[in-house]
């Protein structure tokens, strides 16, 4: 599903990733942990094609990120759901419109959109707030709208970059539970977080990044170990 093969990423200011190899299987739930600036976001950006590896090979859902053409980027992203710490909702559109928007850009049939949007809103528990604007919603609710938007195209992979970073404890629990439920339906989840309490609650695979290198991987199997040695 996702494979990093000896990946390094250099920025003009310095090195963000150093020789990272990682394999994430279909349906897996993986935490990416580490301090700010450790390289978590860089890894996620490589996964959704916002960055290209300087060295090495990144494959996501059959796409080779290093050789991604401009027309392949939208196709890759339609297979992914992406969630951010700052929600990234369009402030001038209602919850419903924000979600519908993600369907419209993919050219979905107009008459099928309202039902699908309502289903997604129901799934994240916000059916009653369909007509609310982002500023009328709490942080937790906004993140649920963002998650509903990420799910609307039935992605095989959900990438979440600190999705609970801006939320209080109660909202964090709710959003995390929602993400776990999504994973339970078979969607692969990669969640970057530095909330170690959250990580400790579960037995999900944890990959710790420090200074651009993988320093710990609780799910590392023999094959990956070989890659690490090579």
């Amino acid at each position: 599903m996702i494979r990093f093969h000896h990946v390094s990423k250099d920025y003009p200011k310095g090195v963000a990733l150093k020789d990272v190899s990682l394999h994430i299987a279909k349906g897996e739930f993986v935490f990416l942990t580490g301090h700010s600036g450790a390289g978590k976001s860089t890894m996620l950006k490589l996964m959704y094609g916002a960055l290209r590896p300087t060295v090495g090979d990144v494959r996501v859902s059959g796409f080779n990120i290093g050789t991604l053409t401009p027309s392949e980027i939208p196709r890759l992203r339609r297979r992914l759901g992406i969630v951010f710490q700052d929600f990234r909702l369009l402030e001038d559109r209602t919850a419903e419109e924000n979600i519908a928007f993600a369907l419209e850009v993919t050219g979905a049939r107009a008459d099928a959109i309202p039902a699908r949007v309502m289903r997604a809103l129901t799934q994240v528990g916000l059916a009653a707030k369909a007509h609310a604007y982002p500023q009328e919603l709490s942080g937790g609710e906004q993140q649920r709208v963002a998650i509903a938007r990420a799910l609307i195209n039935d992605p095989t992979i959900l990438l979440a970059d600190e999705p609970t970073g801006n939320l209080d404890e109660r909202a964090t629990r709710g959003v995390f539970q929602l993400i776990r439920e999504i994973n339970a339906t078979g969607t692969c989840v990669v969640m970057a977080t530095h909330d170690l309490d959250l990580v400790k609650q579960t037995t999900y695979r944890t990959v710790e990044i420090r200074d651009g290198s993988v320093v710990f991987d609780s799910g590392q199997d023999d094959a990956d170990a070989e890659e690490e040695m090579a």
Partner: protein, 289 residues
């Protein structure tokens, strides 16, 4: 298509102030171009009217037979530069002199012998009314033995030539400068509206919108703004024209307004800048994320 128009019009609804501001900016930038065009067109019109007076007059020797004159008139009328040849007889010349030269009316009144010669007045075609062509026609006329003298106001025509050249060069330079300024101002205006929606563009990219899909509404929006701005400019220019129409007189008539083809060109210019500006501005954002 429906979605494209909805997204394009949404900006006007959701940011009415900014939209109105950018249309006004585009309108005034094009208005400056329009005003200049108005001046240029009227200058040219004035020159054209003056040019119509360019003619070569060939004075004929006394006693030239009428058949010879008629034959020569036909020959001269066949010159490629010549539009019309008019024969003015001695009597007609005198009649005209009496009518036009009021100061000398007394001198012309009781003449026993008409001192004025007959002449051929030769009008040149549009495009040949310059010093070079006029001189060429005059040279050829000198070949006719019965032609005594040729007048065509050489210095005056040379001055007119210079004026025409200066008007052309200055017009082109200033016109281009105005157009360039309009392009820059409109480009910046559109860039601001795109910048305001930078986050929207990045979100569209993240949810898998193609570049074409993202560009579409911005292009439509830019084109509409260019169109409306162009119309604002035309209204302002027309208002200015009405204001000055009664006050400025050209050589023989009042000032003229731009022709519909020129107005259409202005609108096309506005739409093109709107489209181009949007394309460039959005393009910058499409390279990120």
């Amino acid at each position: 298509m429906r979605l494209l128009l909805r997204e394009a019009f949404m900006t006007f609804r959701r940011a009415p102030l900014l939209s109105a501001l950018s249309i006004t900016t585009i309108g005034f930038s094009l208005y400056a171009v329009g005003l200049f065009a108005l001046v240029a067109v009227n200058l040219r019109e004035a020159l054209r009217i003056v040019e119509q007076r360019v003619e070569v007059v060939a004075y004929l020797l006394r006693g030239t037979p009428a058949e010879t004159i008629a034959q020569a008139s036909q020959d001269i009328a066949a010159f490629p530069e010549v539009q019309r040849v008019t024969f003015v007889s001695e009597d007609e010349a005198l009649k005209r002199a009496r009518a036009e030269l009021v100061e000398f009316r007394d001198a012309y009144r009781d003449l026993s012998v008409n001192p004025l010669p007959a002449s051929l007045e030769i009008q040149l075609k549009d495009g040949f009314r310059d010093a070079q062509h006029t001189a060429a026609v005059a040279d050829r006329l000198r070949g006719y033995g019965f032609i005594d003298d040729i007048r065509y106001g050489r210095e005056w025509i040379e001055k007119l030539d210079r004026l025409r050249n200066i008007a052309g060069v200055v017009g082109l330079t200033i016109g281009l400068a105005f157009a360039a300024v309009a392009v820059v101002i409109i480009g910046v205006t559109i860039r601001i509206t795109v910048l305001q929606r930078a986050s929207e563009i990045s979100i569209m990219r993240l949810v898998g919108a193609t570049n074409g899909f993202i560009r579409g509404p911005f292009l439509v929006e830019g084109a509409i703004k260019g169109l409306l701005g162009g119309m604002v400019a035309i209204l302002l220019s027309y208002g200015t024209y009405l204001l000055f129409r009664g006050q400025i007189e050209l050589a023989t008539s009042g000032i003229v307004f731009l022709k519909s083809a020129q107005l259409a060109l202005g609108i096309v210019f506005g739409v093109a800048i709107g489209l181009g500006g949007s394309l460039v501005s959005v393009g910058r954002h499409l390279r990120n994320v």
